[in-house]
Amino acid sequence: MPMASLVDGDVVGARPELDGLLGAFLGEVSDATGVLVTGESGNPIASKLAAERIQLIAASAMATLAAWAGEVVAANLRLSGMWGVTIEGPTWKVIVAPTPSHAAVVLVTLEKPADGPRVQRALPGLLRAVDRSLGGRTTQ
């Protein structure tokens, strides 16, 4: 299945510079099989995922919902500092994490067994870079 690129001008808010960030992340984290950036509205704004366009849109909306529901769970339990939601299947893992400013949500697909520490080292940098790319609203 070909890599779907949503940065083709017909997606509202699409930012070509995000494509470079996603490519660099995939180069750094060899276990990552794909990465997707979702905007505030839940629409995909950049993608390096092998999936059909309609599936990307659905996955993007559901990833945003999962991240939001995770934050509500944490808030209700009075737990601070939720950094992400991990969805696991028998042979795969998907990490969904909001950027520091909550301007976007990043979804990373991984093959199991993934090098967890490497992903956790690389992901915060990607989240900050995505925030910067979306208008410099990042926090340290």
């Binding site: 559901m62 990833a63 529901a69 944490a74 009075r78 299947g89 028998p90």
Partner: protein, 151 residues
């Protein structure tokens, strides 16, 4: 013959006294006991909640007094699980087993029971042995399902 019968009576008495011994609980024990057993078997686990398909809590066990609105927590956790399943359906062929909400020093794991009759929410410290949790969680999920089927 009488000696054999007497030995059997002693064995049965021993089995009964095993069952009656306080603190010894098996996964076949009533639902609340199974949850308490799970809570004490996995170090670092703070709470376990069973939620039905609609996200409503049906049973729970906690180390401390509940500090949260369990209805809101279980409803949103089940929503996170459903959203996670939908992400999986759209990106992969296989089904999602668990959704873990992670913070710097805590984790909340949500996992459906084998038939999807209910969802199990486990709240834990970040240092919890995830390997032990993943070994134990399917057993408690099966036990929960057995109990719920009898209701």
């Amino acid at each position: 013959m009488a000696g054999i019968r007497q030995n059997r009576v002693i064995e049965v008495d021993e089995e009964r006294s095993e069952e009656m011994r306080p603190g010894k609980v098996s996964w076949d024990a009533p639902l609340q006991d199974s949850l308490t057993l799970f809570l004490t078997s996995v170090p670092g686990v703070l709470a376990i909640v069973v939620a039905d398909r609609n996200g409503l809590p049906v049973a729970s066990a906690m180390r401390d007094k509940p500090r949260a609105d369990l209805v809101a927590v279980s409803a949103m956790a089940v929503l996170a699980m459903e959203a996670g399943r939908s992400v999986a359906r759209n990106l992969h062929a296989t089904q999602a087993n668990t959704v873990t909400i992670e913070g710097e020093s805590w984790k909340v794991v949500v996992s459906p029971t084998p038939s999807g009759l209910a969802n199990v929410l486990v709240m834990m410290e970040g240092t919890t042995n995830l390997g032990l949790l993943k070994l134990t969680l399917p057993r408690v999920a099966e036990a929960i399902e057995r109990h719920l089927e009898t209701l």
